[in-house]
Every structure is written in C-alpha cells, then in structure tokens.
C-alpha cells in the first residue's frame, strides 16, 4: 500500500509563510491499495486538493474513514469533488453513537446555515457505516477501528495489507490520567490497534512544556507520543496533527526534542508534511522528506 499525506495540521488550517514546509491543511491521508481501492483517512482541508488529484486517477472504490467529526477532520468533505459526481459510489465510515446516526451528525455540517449544500442533495451515492471494531476487508486490505481517548467519540484505524500495517491516531491523549512510563501496555488507550505497527501516524501537538496548559484537550505532548510509540513497539513514528501555532522552525525543534530524548527512536521518528509519501510493501518502508 502507498500512503500520501494531504494535510497534517491540527485544529484549524494554518497556511502562510511560516508553515510552508510542513503544510497548513488539516488532517487528510490517502491510502492506495494494490487492489485499486482508495482509503481516505479523515476529511480535513487536505481533502480539497486530494479530490482534484483524484479526478485524474479515480480509485476502483472509495472509502472515507473518519476518526471523529471535529471540523478540522470534516471540513474538506464539502469541497471533495468526487461527492458531486452523479452516481459515484462512496462509503463513509465513522465512530458510532447510541444517539444519532453518522449521516445525521455529518448533516449538521453539510446543511445551511453552515454549508449551502445539503448532504441529502448530493448526487453521489453515499453509504454510511459505523467504524468497524472487528476487522473488515476493503479491497486487498483489512481495516479495524478502536475507540481512543479524545474529546467525544473518536476512533483510530489500523490498515493491514500483505503483512504490513499502517496505524492512524491523529487525535489522541493516551496520557490523560495515566502514567505511560509505568502503566501496563494493554491499559494504554490505542495500544490494541497500534501494537507492532510498521508505521504509526500519531498526534504530537504539543512540546512537553506546552502540555500542562492543555491537559484534557485530547492531544499529546511529544514526550507522551514517544512513550506511546515505544511501548506499542512501532517501527516508524510519524508526528502528526501539528499545532496551528507552530511554525516550521518550531516543529523542527519539537522533532529535535524527540530525537534527543529518545535516541533509540532517533532514526525512526519524523514529522509529517504535506506531500509525504509512505510506501509499505515487500521492501523496507520508504518515506519521502519535505522539500527545503
């Protein structure tokens, strides 16, 4: 499978000269499977350019996997061109709720006054599914979700194909109320799906000294992210959901903190950036680097 990052900023889009290298679009990651299917992880503003690119390279089948419905993970949906293609079949997966169907919750955004087009008026054929907490097959991949610690119903996803695993936990605060240094791994939120992943994209919104003012906001400090990744025995860690107030320079300082504090991960931790391409196949995992 091949993954491509279209947006890795957290909370709100942050375009501008200070965020050019890592990008200002919010969460959206495309995964292309060997079967020709496409999985789109989250519908942040990075979904707009993805939709443009997809017009030239439509997948066999299109599945959108939403981790949760905060706007920075949903706002791009209304600007994703494939949803305006008549008859185009699209599957949208998201966290279940005992109160309201996924479609009804998404329609709160895709309806006036927040958006001019109603979800029910879209010409594509959209099918909604609860995020699968048991493994399901999508094309050549197996996909599984798990609820994780964040604000409101939120899941992470694990995608496996040909013995390789890609795990996506963009909004996650596993350290809330827990000491990740001492807690048994199975008691750590997200461990079940992250364990042994070849590649983990994980929330790393705050530098350690910033976290104290944001406890309970649903995001991780770089220290917690590193401890989580080590305890989950992941191979490659991609730092994701960059704080909208962090400039490119500050993000590189955060990465330097990670490498200095956890030298065993120094060669295996990196910052997500728009355009990043990750290949997971028979050969060792390869990851693209940001343009200088």
């Amino acid at each position: 499978m091949r993954a491509r990052v279209w947006g890795c900023r957290g909370s709100i889009a942050a375009p501008g000269p200070d965020t050019v290298r890592y990008g200002g679009n919010t969460s959206c990651v495309e995964i292309r499977l060997s079967s020709g299917h496409a999985l789109v992880l989250d519908a942040g503003t990075g979904m707009r350019p993805l939709g443009v690119a997809m017009q030239e390279d439509m997948p066999t089948e299109l599945h959108i996997l939403l981790t949760h419905l905060h706007l920075d993970h949903l706002q791009g949906l209304g600007f994703f061109r494939p949803i305006y293609v008549p008859g185009r079949e699209i599957h949208i997966w998201g966290p279940s709720s005992p109160v309201q169907h996924l479609a009804d919750r998404i329609a709160m955004y895709l309806s006036p006054p927040l958006f001019p087009v109603r979800l029910e008026d879209l010409p594509s054929r959209i099918t909604f599914h609860d995020a699968p907490e048991e493994p399901v097959s999508i094309g050549s991949a197996t996909v599984r979700a798990a609820k994780v610690t964040h604000q409101g119903p939120t899941v992470g996803y694990r995608v496996e194909e040909q013995g390789r695993s890609f795990v996506y936990l963009p909004d996650h605060e596993p350290s809330l109320g827990a000491d990740l240094r001492t807690i048994p791994p199975e008691w750590m939120s997200g461990h079940d799906i992250a364990r042994g992943a070849d590649v983990l994209l994980h929330d790393a919104q705050y530098r350690d000294h910033e976290y104290g003012d944001h406890v309970g906001w649903g995001h991780s400090s770089i220290g917690a992210t590193m401890q989580f990744a080590i305890k989950a025995e992941v191979d490659r860690l991609v730092l994701f959901h960059h704080d909208p107030y962090h400039t490119d320079i500050e993000l590189e300082q955060l990465l330097a903190d990670a490498k200095a504090g956890w030298p065993s991960m120094a060669d295996r931790v990196m910052l997500a950036h728009e355009g990043m391409s990750i290949m997971l196949g028979a050969k060792p995992v390869s990851v693209g680097h940001p343009a200088r």
């Binding site: 939120s189 025995e233 956890w262």
Partner: protein, 143 residues
C-alpha cells in the same frame, strides 16, 4: 530513554481504560471487573482494604476477591457473589447498591455502602463493572 516492554495482557476496551484512570484519581475504594468477572484493577484506596497494592496482588478472580473481604450483610449473613452489587451488575447488567460488612486485611470489620454499575457500550456490549465502597461507620475490630 527506552522503557521496559512488559508482556501485554488481553486488550482492554476504552471504557474500562477510562474507568481505571478515574479510579486511579480517586480516594474512594474502587474495583474494576472485566466482562468475565475477573478483578482487573483496584485503586490505592481499595488496597487499604485488601492490605496489598494491585501491583503486588495483580488480577484475581472475583470470587477470591469476595472471599478475601468476607462480605456479609449487616446481620452477618454471608453474601453470595451473585447477590453482591458487583455480581448483580455483571450478571443482570444493572446497577445495584447495598449495605454490607467487609473484613479488611488487618482484621477490622467495617460497614460499607457498596454501589456497582455495568459499563455498557453503545451497542449494549458489556465492557466490565465498576464497584465503589463507601465506609459507612467507624471501624470495629474483630475479636
């Protein structure tokens, strides 16, 4: 600065994980049972009852936990596990509350109000049980 990697046990669901985090933050004795009835965690306040920390005792079957505390009604009649609040919460999937006597590890027999409730997920699935003990009266040493 790598951490020792313990052997992970059975995966825990998020409701149980969050219940453990809550229990760890409270000074009220709190016990967590998994869907199979295994006592999978208790907090430091509960350790004052059992005489050993969870780190020392680890997971124990709920029957052994009930026996260790010698649960009884205020009249002294033994309480069967299935009739205890945690047993009712686990088997009947509903909250339960009662007044009971429990013997702590130091031999002190105390009266508690005990409440247990099931952790039911969005699809009605059982994630486990939370049992809370509130001490109700001053200690009364056995013998």
């Amino acid at each position: 600065m790598s951490e020792p990697l313990g052997t992970p046990g059975a995966p825990r669901s998020l409701p149980l994980i969050l219940a453990r985090e809550l229990a760890s933050s409270l000074a009220t004795p709190m016990f967590l049972l998994d869907p199979g009835g295994m006592l999978v965690f208790y907090n430091d306040a509960a350790a004052m009852l059992l005489g050993k920390s969870f780190a020392e005792l680890g997971e124990i079957p709920s029957g052994e936990f009930g026996a260790a505390l010698d649960l009884a009604t205020p009249d002294g009649a033994p309480i069967r596990l299935r009739d205890s609040p945690s047993g009712i919460a686990l088997i009947e999937r509903r909250p339960a509350h009662t007044v009971l006597m429990a013997t702590a590890y130091d031999g002190a027999r105390r009266t508690y109000e005990a409440t247990a409730y099931p952790l039911l997920g969005g699809a009605g699935e059982m994630h486990g049980v939370v049992a809370v003990f509130w001490e109700d009266a001053p200690a009364e040493h056995a013998g």
